[in-house]
Symmetry: C2
Subunit: 209 residues, 2 copies
Amino acid sequence: MAETDAPDTEARILEAAHRVFLRRGTAGARTQEIADEAGVNKALLHYYFRTKDKLAEAVAMRAVGRLFPGILGALASDRPLREKLERVAAHELDMLEENPYLPGFLISEFQYQPERLRALLQTAVPLDERRAAIFGALQRQLDAEAEAGRLRPTRAEDLIVAVMGFLVFPFAAAPMLEAALGLDADARRAMAERRRADLPDLVLGAFAA
Amino acid sequence: MAETDAPDTEARILEAAHRVFLRRGTAGARTQEIADEAGVNKALLHYYFRTKDKLAEAVAMRAVGRLFPGILGALASDRPLREKLERVAAHELDMLEENPYLPGFLISEFQYQPERLRALLQTAVPLDERRAAIFGALQRQLDAEAEAGRLRPTRAEDLIVAVMGFLVFPFAAAPMLEAALGLDADARRAMAERRRADLPDLVLGAFAA
DNA sequence: CTCGCCGTTAACTGTTCGGTTAATCCGCTC
DNA sequence: GAGCGGATTAACCGAACAGTTAACGGCGAG
């Protein structure tokens, strides 16, 4: 189970912790399993990261930093709406392909430790400052589209949540969807590729006038 | 913290367990907390349900039984597509209003114990038999809509996942969306009410030709 | 009235787990 | 090649926790 014995032990521990926490959840993960997977003695975890909690925080920080900036950054830019959607889809689906369990992990952590992760998210991404910019720019575009009769009046938050619903939800709920609908990993990948192509049509169609 | 001292102790324990498991997750929940919340000695948990695991299973079974039958049953009926969507929205949003943390809980459990929950889902809902009916009926409707030029060619699984993305995802990700977008409980309720009215438009618009 | 039994409890047990400690290893410097 | 310091380990510790046990309470049957 040991990884390539890279020289940087600390990084190896963090990678192992990332895998184990995403597989078992923060509460379900065992430090021993992380140590084993890093090919290292359990005491080393505490040498580099003082507690399991701190290690979990480091992992959650990485996770948060991977999911949010892409989506929110792209939506806050000043590009045309359709192009924003294309970019979000391309960028996020690339990331999700490599980190398929990340959304489920984050939803779990936010569910069970909302305050903790709220604080963490704020230090990881300066959201409060940017929220006005994100919502503002997007809302103006939506208002213009509504004015032009192309979309019906639409709230920025509805569009953002819809986008995440299309992109992120299939990954977050992957094990559930596999059990309920028989949607296995191949089917999920295929669905992701369809979204890459048709996300703008789906979203713009959903809110079309 | 003790509930109304209802006569039926077993039911009271199950209710308490439901709340605690949904609040902390299966791995994070403590039997002591469940006992306290049920207003009962910890040993009684083991008297009625032999182990924490069995108790968690009972809770998960209830949870699965609440989320899936509504969605899948409505989509499998022989009503017109738009009416199916109206019914799914009405039925599921009623249920989600009363059980807002249920989707997050189920996503977590499926993520961390996929095999376990797959087995549980199969005993709770006879999906394998009905899957053909659900997919078949829905796919035929979608094919007919595509033939008539109203929708573009669409897979039943894409539509089901889209529906769940619109209805379930905002609840599953509620704490995350609150932290990231400032979407508090009131905003989420308002969004849910919008979905109740416009889900058919959203979904049919997304897949419109 | 009392015996038996289900429901309930306080106290206990064994184990798992996060965290600590003291010793060892090893590469570098002088 | 002695000594130093950071990296690493085996062994250990205490707390938290799921699960057990033995005793108790009260109520219905006889």
